[in-house]
C-alpha cells in the first residue's frame, strides 16, 4: 500500500513539474496528438543528460523485433522524483504510451507517468 502510494506520489510530483515534458527543448517534434501504445522489453535504459532514453525491443506482428529509441525527461528531473539509472533494467518488460516521431521511424517520447511494468504493475520509485 505504501509502495503504491509512493509510486502515485511520484507520478503526481512529476506532473506538477511538467507539461508535455519538462524539457530544455521543445518536444513538439513528437506527435502529441496521436500517441502509440507499446509493449516490449527494455534493451537499455540510458540515464544520461540531457535526456534519458529507453531502448525498447518491440516484437512486430511477423515475429521480428524493432528497437525503439524513446526520449524522456532529464535525469535531473527524474532523480528528484525518485528515479535512478537502476529503475529500469535490461530485460524489464514494460508497457508505455509514447508520442511517436512524425516520420514513422521507430522513435518517440516517453513519460514517467505513462510507463508501467507488463501487466500494469506501476514503476515503484523511492523518495
Amino acid at each position: 500500500m505504501r509502495r503504491h502510494l509512493a509510486a502515485l506520489l511520484a507520478c503526481g510530483a512529476l506532473l506538477s513539474l511538467s507539461g508535455a515534458g519538462l524539457a530544455h527543448h521543445s518536444f513538439a517534434m513528437f506527435d502529441q496528438e496521436n500517441p502509440v501504445e507499446l509493449a516490449g522489453t527494455v534493451q537499455e535504459f540510458k540515464f544520461t543528460s540531457p535526456h534519458t532514453f529507453i531502448l525498447l525491443q518491440v516484437k512486430d506482428q511477423d515475429g521480428s523485433a524493432t528497437v525503439w529509441n524513446l526520449e524522456g525527461n532529464a535525469p535531473s528531473n527524474l532523480v528528484r522524483d525518485g528515479w535512478s539509472s537502476k529503475t529500469l533494467k535490461p530485460g524489464d518488460e514494460v508497457e508505455l504510451t509514447v508520442q511517436p516521431l512524425r516520420s514513422g521511424a521507430p522513435g518517440g517520447q516517453w513519460s514517467a507517468n505513462k510507463v508501467k511494468f507488463k501487466g500494469g504493475q506501476p514503476i515503484v520509485v523511492s523518495h
Binding site: 506532473l15 513539474l17 507539461g19 519538462l22 521543445s26 534493451q43 543528460s49 529509441n69 516521431l101
Partner: protein, 295 residues
Amino acid sequence: MGFASLNPSYGDAAMSCQTALGSLVLAAVLIVTAPHARAADESKYPDWSGQWRRVADGGVPRYDPSKPLRKQEAPLTPEYQALHEASIKDQDAGGHGLDEAYKCMPQGMPRQMSGVFPFEFVIGLKVTYVLFEYMVQQARRIYTDGRDFPKDEDPTFAGYSIGKWIDADGDGRYDVLEIETRNLKGPRTWDQSGMPMHADNETLIKERIYLDKADKDLLHDEMTTFDHSLTRPWSVMKNYRHIQKIMWTENNCVEGNQHVTIGKENYLLSADGLLMPTRKGQAPPDLRYFNQAKK
C-alpha cells in the same frame, strides 16, 4: 607592511625595529578586525543561499509564466510574429523551428532565467554570481562594484550584468538587487517554441530580484526586456521556490544527446546509432563528399 633595510646603522636599526613593530601591530589589528568587518558587510545582504527552482505550474519553462507556451501574447513585431509562426509550424512537422537548445547552444538571457533546472546565488561584496546546474546556462556575474558597462568587449549569450543593491524598506539591510544586462550575443529565443529575439542582439534586460515579504522561500524576479523583436518593452514576473531537499546532479547537454543536425536538417539517432528522419518524407543527408570517384 614595510620592512627596514638589511644594513642599517644602530639608529636606523632602532627606527627599523619600531617600523617593523608598528607593522606587526597593524597586521594584528587587521587580522582581528577584518573578519568582523566582513561579517558586518555580509549582514547587510539578504540570504538567498541554497537552491532555487521555478515555481511549478504544470507547464514548461517560458518567459511569461502567467501564460502558456505558444500563447504568450508576446508584443512581437509583425516580422517576428511571422518568424515565430513559422517556427511553430516547423516543430509541428517534426523539426525544431528556431529553437537551438536541442543542439546544446547556450540559452542566453533572458531565457536562462526561466528556470528549467535549478540554480543558486553566491553573493559577494563586489559581484553576485548566479550559478546554474545546467551546463548551457552559463554563470551570470552581476557586478555591484559601481563599474560602468565595457565599451569594447565581445558579447556573450549571458550578457554583461551590472547590479545595484537597494534597501527598499529602509531597515538597514539590502533586499532588492537591481540589474541591467547588455552586450548579448545570439541567436537567442524567448523560449523553446523558437520565438525569436531580434537578430541585432541589442537586447537590454532590467531585473529587480527580491524575496517575497510574506514567504522567505519565494523569490521574485521582475523582468523587463527591451528587444527590437518587440513593439514595446515586455515585463513579466518570474517566481522561484527555495528547495528544501537540495540535490545537484550532473547536467550536461552532450553526453546522451541523440539529436543530430546536418545542414538545416535535424535527425534523431536510432537505437542502433543510425540516422532516423523526424519528418514525413524527409530526405537523407547530402552525401556528395562520400565515395566520390576521381574524374
